[in-house]
């Protein structure tokens, strides 16, 4: 068995345990957390190289032959997602060193972040649908605690909504798993893909809709997204950033996985439904953002609208469209995390997230302004940044199969995204700082050089990555295309798992 199949789960797990054992020594915890994040990125890259070179990797836990044991199976799409998790994990681990207060550190913040990363990696790597549920729960319980750690009023209110909706989604997911087991008698995804074509169509479609709803709540699609803008702006910026970058994308990943591997029996119904939902998701998300005046709430609504683009590719269901989705997910994880990190820096400097009270950041810190513009314009899809290529692929795929309506909506939403980003730019960076700066939450004390490094290093690295994806698109596109082809030919996946 390839060791890289275990490491992306084992490394964050061990890091979390060591950080937990060192709960009294905060300095040690910080070092362990940073080292663990570096280790995770290394393991993720190792896994990616292996999968890219040798094809789909699979391993049976405990030596039980498939389909009886729990399977870990990683194809190119999964490996790309694990690499994205490693990148974001490292960025947020570094950023946390400067932004997380000692109380949160003492209450196991670093352990929780790594447990969260373990859950996310596990979700991307498992080949068993019940095991996917377990990884979802690992990820959720860590995110619940991170969401309310600190116990401010807004955090608790946000957490109630977040916890409730996610538990409903888990119950739906488990219900779907139960019915699926009753129908087919197996839970191994490769085995399911083999046996589902012989099952009766109508109940399978019903189960597919259950999965769609369960993953839809987690991915925050229309009309199930309302928990996200109600909660994502309440925790500290590092936590918001890792949630915004990774958690909803796990839902999207799971949706793409089941609707390419398992439920492909009736695309004219299921995938059309996904496509229609994608259009509504894009529009409601972006319109929701227009009416907001809080830095992080605007960004939260934009997560929703961007999720629309990701599942639009799944709804179109052609190789090019899926490649567009994969490209878009990777680009979005990096860009969105970066925007949240920058909102945290703005908060650190001026003590507020309210756009009315922010101002003059460009005059004071021109470099920060440029760093904001790179991901912001990329999110809106301005060439030559990474978001432009993602949108281009999806729109080209849409035109090829003549889905003009959804293409028109995607273009319009891009324009409105630009509007929101210019609004943040105008309010926070361009206009002079309003006089009543005294009402802010915390006095913006001067920052030490070390603090600047921890704040800026992740932001700059992610911005460089955004530029790199935009300027050197070809290799990323080839990868996404290869991953999409693997998704659309499940035979290879089944062979890798079942032997």
């Amino acid at each position: 068995m390839n060791p890289f199949l275990i490491l992306p789960i084992a490394v964050p797990f061990l890091t979390a345990i060591v950080a937990l054992l060192a709960w009294k020594a905060r300095r040690l915890q910080r070092m362990v957390s940073l080292l663990g994040a570096v280790g995770l990125l290394g393991a993720a890259l190792g896994l990616f190289v292996t999968v890219h070179r040798d094809g789909i990797q699979a391993a049976q836990m405990g030596g039980w032959p498939p389909p009886f044991g729990i399977t870990l199976a990683v194809d190119l799409f999964g490996a790309i997602m694990v690499v994205a998790t490693g990148l974001i994990g490292l960025a947020v681990a570094a950023y946390s060193l400067a932004t997380i207060d000692p109380q949160r550190e003492s209450f196991g913040y670093y352990s929780l972040i790594h447990i969260l990363l373990m859950g996310v990696c596990g979700s991307f790597m498992t080949g068993d649908i019940f095991n996917l549920y377990v990884w979802f729960e690992v990820m959720l319980i860590a995110s619940f605690v991170l969401m309310e750690l600190g116990g401010r009023k807004a955090q608790l209110e946000g957490a109630i909504k977040y916890v409730t909706l996610n538990l409903v989604s888990s119950a739906l997911f488990l219900t779907a798993v139960a019915i699926l087991y009753g129908l087919v008698g197996t839970l191994n995804m490769a085995d399911l893909a083999r046996q589902l074509p012989t099952a009766e169509k109508a109940p399978v479609t019903a189960v597919a809709i259950f999965f769609f709803l369960a993953f839809g709540i987690k991915a925050a699609i229309f009309p199930l997204f309302f928990w996200l803008p109600a909660s994502y702006h309440t925790p500290p910026p590092a936590v918001s950033a890792i949630f915004a970058g990774l958690l909803t994308k796990v839902g999207v990943y799971a949706m793409i996985r089941v609707f390419t591997l398992l439920f492909v029996h009736d695309p004219s119904f299921t995938h059309q439904l996904i496509l229609a939902t994608a259009a509504f998701t894009m529009v409601t998300g972006v319109l929701g953002a227009v009416s907001q005046n809080n830095f992080r709430r605007i960004l939260s609504f934009h997560i929703v609208s961007q999720i629309g683009y990701m599942i639009m590719g799944l709804g179109l269901f052609t190789p090019l469209a899926l490649a567009g989705s994969i490209f878009y997910i990777f680009h979005h994880i990096i860009v969105k995390t970066n925007l949240f990190l920058i909102s945290g820096i703005a908060h650190r400097l001026q003590g507020t997230y309210e756009l009315k009270k922010l101002g003059g950041l460009y005059a004071l810190y021109p470099g920060l302004g440029i760093l904001f513009l790179i991901p912001a314009l990329s999110l809106a899809g301005v060439p030559p940044l990474s978001g432009f290529w993602g949108k281009l692929l999806l729109i080209k795929a849409g035109l090829e199969i003549e889905s003009y309506a959804v293409v028109a909506i995607a273009l319009l939403v891009g324009l409105l995204t630009l509007y929101s980003m210019t609004k943040i730019w105008n309010e926070a960076f361009w206009k002079p700082r309003p006089g009543n700066g005294g009402e802010t939450e915390q006095p913006a004390g001067p920052m030490s050089a070390l603090e600047w490094i921890w704040l800026l290093a992740p932001v700059i690295s992610l911005a460089i990555l955004t530029l790199a994806i935009g300027l050197v698109t070809e290799p990323f596109f080839v990868l996404a295309k290869k991953a999409a082809e693997q998704l659309l030919n499940p035979a290879e996946y089944i062979r890798a798992v079942m032997g």
Binding site: F130, Y133, V134, E137, L140, I141, F144, V145, E148, G151, K153, A154, L156, E157, G158, A159, I160, K161, V163, T164, L167, V168, S170, A171, L174, T175, V177, A178, I179, Y181, G182, P229, A230, S231, H233, T234, S291, Q292, N293, N294, R297
Partner: protein, 116 residues
Amino acid sequence: MQTLMALVVGSLYASGLYLMMRRSIVKLIIGLALLSHATNLLIFVMGGLTRGRPPVIPEAAERMTGTFADPLPQALILTAIVIGFGVLAFAVVLIRRTHQMVGTDDLDELQTTDSM
């Protein structure tokens, strides 16, 4: 037996969802608990109900033959119960803290994070 179980599972789902839609924060938690019980019971029923045929291979035989009680759903339920228990314990603490902080048990008053 199957019909009875279907009715039980159905009413558990219905009462769980009904309680979750009430305004009281305590009913929300009870609703969540019922929902997870409903799901566990559903997994159990979906494995098929078999009486008096434990999944133990007789000494003389190589493998199980005929119908027998499926052990897998029970393993799944065990996992789901443990997870559900942990999550429920967390949720109870969460509502207690929220109640202390906000001073109300009315869900409709938890709106500050939704306002613009």
